[in-house]
Structure formats: C-alpha cells, structure tokens
Amino acid sequence: MSVRDSRHDLDWLAFCYAADELSPTEAAAFEHLLGTDQSAREALAQAVELTQAIAVGKVWEPVTVAPTAGARWSRRISWMALGSAASLLVALLWSGVGPRMQAWPAGEAEAVSQKGELAAAWSETRQQMAVASEEVHWYPAHLDAHLGAAAASDDAASESLGADVWLADNQDADKDDAALAATPSWLTAAVLSSAGLSADADATPFDDERGDN
C-alpha cells in the first residue's frame, strides 16, 4: 500500500468516525489512535471541514428552482396568446359594435329605451320580492311562468339568486343604472314578454347580421 493510499485510508477512517459510521469498537480504536497520532488528528479536522463545507455550500436540486428553456418559452407563448386574444377583442369592439349601435333605427332605439324603463321597474319589483323570499323562502308561481322552462332548472335558479344577491348589495347605487347593468338576459325576455313585445324585438342589428351570416 502506498503512502497516498494509506493517507486516503486515514482520511476515510476519520470521515467514518465523524459520521458515526464506525462500530463502538472501531470508534474506540480510532479515538485511541487520536491520542497518539498527529496525522489522525489532522485527518479528523479535515473530515469535519470537508463535511461542513458540503453541508453548508451545496444547494441541492429541490432548493434550486431555475426555469428551463422550455418553461420560459411556454410562458412567452402564453403571454403572446393572451395579447392576441385581447387585441382581437379590441378590434371586434372597435370595428363592429360601435357603428352598428349608431345605425340603430329610431323605432328600435325607442324600444330599447322602453325596455330600459321596464327593466328598472322589474328590478325594483325583484328587490322587494327578494326581501320577501328571504323571509318566507318561497318564490311566486307567476314569476316562474315568465322565466319559462329554463327558469325551472338549477342553472336558472342559481342565476336568479345571483341577481338577487347583486341587487341586495347595490341598494345604495343609482337604481336605473344598476337595473340596466344588472339585468340578465332571461329577465329582459320576461319583461318583454309581459310588455307584449316579441322576443325578436330585443334583438339588436348586430344579432340580425349574425343571423344572416
């Protein structure tokens, strides 16, 4: 065995002692060696230094979170897709809806105005009914008739409850604006029906064009 091998053996023995990997007999023998051999003492000091350096210095994989190139590209593509969708939405709103709103005939504009007033009135009624329903947990049958078949479904019931909650939360807001903004489509249809207007009257020119397409 060369001097170098012997040195490595001593280093390894010192490491195993420091790591408590020796049996009690082996550990006692090494401690006896420490009492007489300066090389063994220095080997132990170095084993401690090395182990400490490893424990302190190395940041292992679970701690190191470095984004991979694939992850970076994935994130870029996500942002690009989001940007494209937003641009498309803006383009549609800018080029489609604006001009069509301006091109509404006078008669239809009047109908819309009428619908706004009816919606506000309906909303007010719904507010009162909501308070009543909270107290007695019933819902008037005639309202169900206006809601139609969809209103009987769970989805419609949820939507109705959502409208009630919204209205209850916004009692201090301007009633007309709130009613117009919060009026769900099924409510508009019900209002039109009770006012004797056809459902088609609610359609906007945009809907007509969409239907033509």
Partner: protein, 183 residues
C-alpha cells in the same frame, strides 16, 4: 483539572518564563480553526468545543513555555484531545444520542466569529460537487445532506453496502483534494 497532561517536561524547555501573549495569539491564529474542527469531530457540540478550545489555550499559556517551538502544534492537539475526552466523560456526552452528527444544527454555523469552515473551502467544494459523477453526487447528498446512514442509503438505492461506501469514498477523495490540504 484532572486531565492527563501530555508531559511537556519530556521536551527541554527553551524558557523558564511563560510565553508572551503575542506568541499564544499567533498560535491561536495559526492553529485555532483546525483545532476547533478536530474538537468538533470528537465532541459534536459547538459550545463544548469552544469551552475545550479555550481550556487548551489556557494550558498553552500556563505550560507552553515548557515546549519546543517546533512541537507546539502537536502539543496543542494532544492537550485538546485529552481535554475533550475528559469533558466528554464528565459531561457524559459520549452516548449514542449526542454522537449523532447533526452537521447543520450543530457545527455548520456555530457563530459568526467561530467558523468551522472557510468561505473559500465552501466555494471550492461546491464547484467540485457539481463535477462529481451523478451516482457519487447522490451518495454525498444522501449521506451528508439528508443524514442517512450508509446502510439506509444502500437499502434505498438497492445497491450493496460496499458499493455505497466505495462511491462515497471516491467522492470524498475528490472533494478533499479541492480543499487544498493534500491530494
């Protein structure tokens, strides 16, 4: 104190008076770190290590003048060893529980002014670990970072214990070379 003296009188004393404070301070600067690591290897406790280190240099102040200059390092280590064994017996810290090595909790950061390991060593070892083969890296990680015994590591990796030991030993030889002591 009933610590067995390393018989400083075995060596001809160069002086009858005590060592100057500057000489002892220079010895502390030169050997203090290494002594601390050596003591930590025996005691596994930062506070106890500091106490024994202090006691060792007190001995050097009291009796160092009876030693020859060229043997003072070995004398310090010998005194430190006897002091550590005495403390361990007295404090009953030689039991299995205390002997469990807790590199992080105990010795890795004893205090800011008492480092067990130099920053340069940490840097060198960190770079060396990255260059180890994956299997050796895994062993180093499981043994030192996760504090698993070799038996557990061998069991988990489904390799013979000898293979685990061989990988770890090969890794330690490479890493030790980076510390600049030898190799």
């Amino acid at each position: 104190m009933s610590v067995a003296d390393p018989s400083p009188s075995d060596h001809p004393a160069p002086s009858e008076s005590r060592l100057e404070a500057s000489v002892v301070a220079a010895l502390y600067v030169e050997h203090g770190e290494e002594l601390r690591r050596f003591l930590h290897g025996i005691l596994r406790d930062a506070q106890l290590t500091s106490d024994v280190l202090q006691a060792t240099f007190v001995k050097m102040v009291e009796r160092g003048h009876q030693t020859r200059e060229e043997t003072r390092k070995a004398w310090l280590f010998r005194v430190a060893y006897h002091e550590a064994m005495f403390y361990r017996r007295r404090e009953a810290v030689g039991d299995k529980v205390v002997r469990q090595v807790a590199w992080y909790a105990n010795g890795a950061a004893p205090s800011a002014d008492e480092p067990l390991v130099r920053f340069e060593s940490v840097q060198a070892v960190r770079e060396a670990i990255d260059k180890l083969p994956p299997q050796q890296q895994q062993l180093v990680r499981m043994r030192i970072y996760e504090e698993k015994t070799f038996a557990v590591i061998a069991s988990e990796l489904r390799i013979p214990l000898g293979t685990a030991l061989a990988r770890m030993r090969a890794a330690m030889i490479k890493l030790r070379a980076k510390l600049g002591h030898h190799g």
